[in-house]
Symmetry: C2
Subunit: 163 residues, 2 copies
Amino acid sequence: MEREDDITYIHRAIELARQGESSGGAPIGCVIVLDHRIIGEGHNSVDQLHDPTAHAEIVAIRRAGATLHRSRFKGATLYSTLQPCGMCSMAAIWAGISRIVYGAERDQVHQMYFEDRHLQTIDYINDAFADDLSLTGGVLGEACAGLYYRPTDNPPGDEQANK
Amino acid sequence: MEREDDITYIHRAIELARQGESSGGAPIGCVIVLDHRIIGEGHNSVDQLHDPTAHAEIVAIRRAGATLHRSRFKGATLYSTLQPCGMCSMAAIWAGISRIVYGAERDQVHQMYFEDRHLQTIDYINDAFADDLSLTGGVLGEACAGLYYRPTDNPPGDEQANK
């Protein structure tokens, strides 16, 4: 897949992130693409659905499964506005996704968006049985990072889920 | 919570695992308990739902959210027949679950049940921001391990999702 496609789909993910924020959630968006077709997309819906697992990536993965009527999506690319957290990285591995592309890097945003101190997405992937999953970060990185609290911001405690 | 309760709920998780197996899925069961009440339970439903995230623990977490109408379950205990995988461990952290109790240890079953080579549940927890999550393994361990392919078994390739 070309870099131009990457930018197109990260733009779509940003759009979804803004929709998520408008509906009261965290501004994180995700698109899953297979053979140049969007097979699933979503935004963080944890609070709206009372579902702690409803991160943008998980919502999109579920929809992709519903679209394809199967639970493995070999060859698919997952686009996210933010480096996927550990839960979502592992979900992508279980789904057999072949490529993850994201915008904002972990160190561009506040630590509240991640559940662990040290492990990066690439650590999960390196440690996984799957060795056919590639990772590309920083696509529209600053545009994506602008959606989030920055590292030195002091977000309200009640917005910090992992406290 | 007493050890006696742990055995009761792991027994219930084993029952759910068997139900899951009867309906064509992997034999993994999970129960979530808060204030001596089951607030969510489930079995692995990945193939039935075409949802790669529908591990027993995630199904149970979603149901707990629906029961409580919120996305954080402080004080809750998650019971699983098998050491939760990385995705489910992280989901428990996001859900604010206070205690994880499981039956079979990772080294009692085939590696196909896990998505990574090295990291154990305790590694995820130790590395997480949450330091208020305790972990107890080996409750009815052999009974639970008996539900799964063992380390030296050679399961059919098409049953091994993370290949």
